[in-house]
């Protein structure tokens, strides 16, 4: 069961490298966060630790609903039909993603990281999510997609914390959720301004500052 959930997370991250339109990324991200909420929910069911239930509900509400809504609103205000632009081609990005996934699993097996009884199956995929999120940020040239990569990294970190210590203390977790939300709103505001100033979201257009 856990393996299947982990695979779904992996696939969602790899899918983010394969999309054509920016708007497609939002539903994939919402799906990824939904699966993340499932993992927290499953851990709560197994351990009966109350703060895991809070984390699961918050992930569902904040990451799977509000954040995608904010991103969707931003994209609608800019232009729904924008195509993504990437540094690598579709196939080479898939190849790199697979190599990164293998690396993620390998690194985790070699590090001898401590993990909790029920969280252990998620550890390799959580590290891999961090790797893939970083790659999404490097590979995509559109400003908004870097934000999507950032959220993927954060999702990975959330899962790392779940896997090795059943999450952070609840108050801290709340603070992190709040930060995430503000980050996404500011990414939205800045993307909108970048689009109206440069008439593009391509970050390669923004290269006036050097030296």
């Amino acid at each position: 069961m856990e393996q299947w959930i982990a695979m779904l997370l992996l696939i969602s991250a790899i899918r983010l490298l394969q999309i054509r339109k920016i708007s497609d990324s939002v539903s994939i991200l919402a799906f990824q966060s939904f699966v993340l909420a499932l993992t927290a929910g499953a851990l709560w069911y197994q351990t009966k630790l109350p703060h895991l239930l809070v984390a699961a509900v918050l992930t569902l509400v904040v990451k799977a609903m509000i954040i995608p809504a904010v991103l969707h609103y931003t994209i609608k205000k800019i232009d729904v039909h924008r195509q993504v632009e990437r540094v690598t081609s579709k196939y080479s990005s898939l190849l790199i993603a697979i190599i990164l996934s293998v690396a993620g699993f390998y690194v985790t097996s070699r590090l001898h990281l401590p993990s909790t009884k029920f969280g252990a199956p998620y550890l390799p995929v959580s590290i891999t999510l961090v790797f893939l999120g970083t790659f999404i940020m490097v590979d995509h040239k559109k400003a908004l997609m870097q934000g999507i990569g950032l959220i993927t990294i954060e999702n990975g970190l959330f899962l790392v914390a779940q896997a090795i210590s059943y999450g952070m203390p609840m108050m801290v977790e709340l603070g992190i959720f709040f930060d995430m939300l503000v980050t996404v709103v500011i990414i939205g505001i800045l993307s909108f301004r970048i689009h109206s100033t440069f008439e593009s979201l391509n970050i390669e257009k923004m290269s006036n500052l050097k030296g």
């Binding site: 952070m168 801290v172 930060d179 500052l209």
Partner: protein, 492 residues
């Protein structure tokens, strides 16, 4: 004794000021925000005094913990914050008069500016390292909007780079914090207390050394990005040069210190756990940051970018000083934090005046500053001499202390390199500064100071730059020593 009332005031005043200034008329807002910032200086110094001369403050179920290190950072934030809000009045007035921004934008500026000060104060007083992380991330988010304030292409580019690099860096720091929590949980079980600095610092000797080392490396890279340590410093010259000048002063003068504060909090724990083996990492990143400044300093065209690179250098010097360690090294590093904040904010204020007078940041278009603006020009010259470590100004004292500590503790190669880089940076920077300060001003530049507000604001940091260069009062030495004791992992 002090109760939580003062601490709540310290955090609530910036928040209320921000919200009020957002809603009310700018002309009232101008004065209100200066008065509020001044009041916060009183509150902040009162708290700091109590910490320095009595005992650390703990409160709100151990959520708040203020020791000498926190109080020191609070002191810097309220002082520089006050001078910057004073300076902002004249600066923003001029921007509106020149039709660079709309009048109502000034209200947004005050909103974000005071929220920014509030988030930095919050970072300095929390005990839980998770909240420390949340606070540092918030400083990035709020200040990214200030960097984007002018909405020009270049400022948006700088803000975006800052937001993305800052957030990714800080995400890695979170991974570090998770590992630290893990080592805390290992000893004390799952509770929010396992992430409290006081708890972890007390139990530092029993923490798992492998996990704390991983934690430290992630935190160093993560918060190091925020502090502008090389090679993660690429966002810094962009953000600091594109922000409005009073914001640049706060970014360089206190935000970088606040990020370093995050590193040093965790460093004190980890260095005890690892028995001093964390120090070489600081020496490495510190020296690299100083070294990387040298070439960029020599080829700079933009005044504020040059000052920003100088901040990279000085963050490197502070990190190096803490890495060298020992009573003397830490004393020098803490002293350098204070001196750099004063001198660098002074330089950015002066640069703001020059910038508005010449309508340019390009150094080849600026000449004869001393003739065009006698007060600003001479202060700019003094501040530039101070920042490059020329005696008899303040930075010379702290740099000299760190060098002495380096030689005494046997870090011969590192100290000689440090000395060499500082000399190179001095000559590079002075070459440009002297060309800007002297000579004839272009004919179209009117020979008159900028507004009264912008000139008055220069004097407070100037006093610190000159007086502390000649004489460090005993009570101030005592304060610096207390902060150094905290950095050593001892309980002050």
């Amino acid at each position: 004794m002090i109760d939580m009332g003062e601490v709540s005031l310290l955090l609530i005043i910036p928040l209320m000021t921000a919200l009020l200034c957002w809603k009310i008329n700018v002309r009232i807002g101008n004065k209100l925000q200066v008065a509020a910032a001044l009041f916060n200086v009183v509150v902040g110094l009162f708290i700091a005094k109590n910490v320095f001369f009595h005992a650390p403050i703990t409160g709100w179920h151990r959520l708040i913990y203020i020791d000498a290190l926190s109080a020191f950072n609070v002191m810097l934030i309220v002082l520089i914050g006050f001078v910057a809000s004073l300076y902002s009045v004249g600066y923003m007035h001029h921007e509106v008069a020149e039709k660079i921004i709309d009048a109502y934008k000034v209200r947004h500026y005050y909103l974000w500016f005071h929220l920014f000060l509030g988030t930095m104060l919050a970072v300095s007083v929390v005990n839980n390292l998770g909240f420390l992380w949340v606070g540092i991330e918030l400083t990035t988010l709020v200040s990214a909007l200030l960097v984007a304030f002018y909405r020009k292409g270049t400022s948006l580019e700088a803000a975006w780079k800052y937001l993305i690099m800052g957030s990714v860096g800080i995400a890695f720091a979170l991974l570090g914090i998770i590992f630290l929590y893990l080592s805390g949980v290992d000893l004390f079980g799952e509770s929010a207390d396992s992430l409290n600095w006081t708890v972890l610092n007390q139990a530092a000797k029993q923490l798992n050394p492998q996990w704390t080392l991983i934690a430290f490396i992630f935190v160093l890279v993560g918060f190091g990005t925020k502090a502008g340590l090389a090679p993660m410093h690429f966002w810094l010259p962009d953000a600091h040069s594109q922000a409005p000048s009073p914001v640049s002063a706060v970014l360089s003068g206190v935000l970088l210190n606040t990020a370093l504060y995050g590193i040093f909090r965790i460093y004190t724990i980890v260095n005890t756990t690892l028995d001093g083996k964390a120090a070489p990492y600081l020496i490495f990143f510190g020296l690299l940051s100083i070294a990387i400044t040298v070439p960029f300093m020599l080829v700079q065209h933009d005044l504020k970018r040059m000052l920003a690179y100088s901040s990279v250098e000085h963050m490197g010097i502070i990190t190096l000083g803490v890495g060298i360690g020992g009573a003397l090294g830490l004393y020098g590093a803490v002293l350098h934090m204070f001196h750099h904040s004063m001198a660098k904010s002074l330089l950015f204020f002066a640069a703001g005046n020059i910038n508005q007078k010449y309508h340019s940041k390009r150094m080849d278009r600026i000449s004869g500053v001393v003739k065009a603006m006698p007060i600003t020009g001479s202060i700019f010259l003094i501040a530039a001499f101070a920042i490059t470590g020329t005696p008899p100004f303040n930075i010379f004292i702290s740099e000299f202390t760190i060098m002495r500590a380096g030689f005494q503790s046997g870090h011969l190669a590192a100290t000689v390199l440090f000395l060499l880089f500082v000399v190179l940076i001095f000559s590079g920077m002075m070459y440009y500064v002297v060309r800007m300060a002297f000579g004839e001003a272009p004919a179209k530049v009117e020979k008159k100071e900028m507004s009264r507000w912008s000139t008055v604001a220069l004097f407070l940091p100037l006093i610190a730059v000159i007086v502390f260069g000649l004489y460090v009062p005993p009570f101030f030495q005592e304060i610096i020593q207390q902060v150094a004791v905290v950095l050593q992992g001892g309980k002050s």
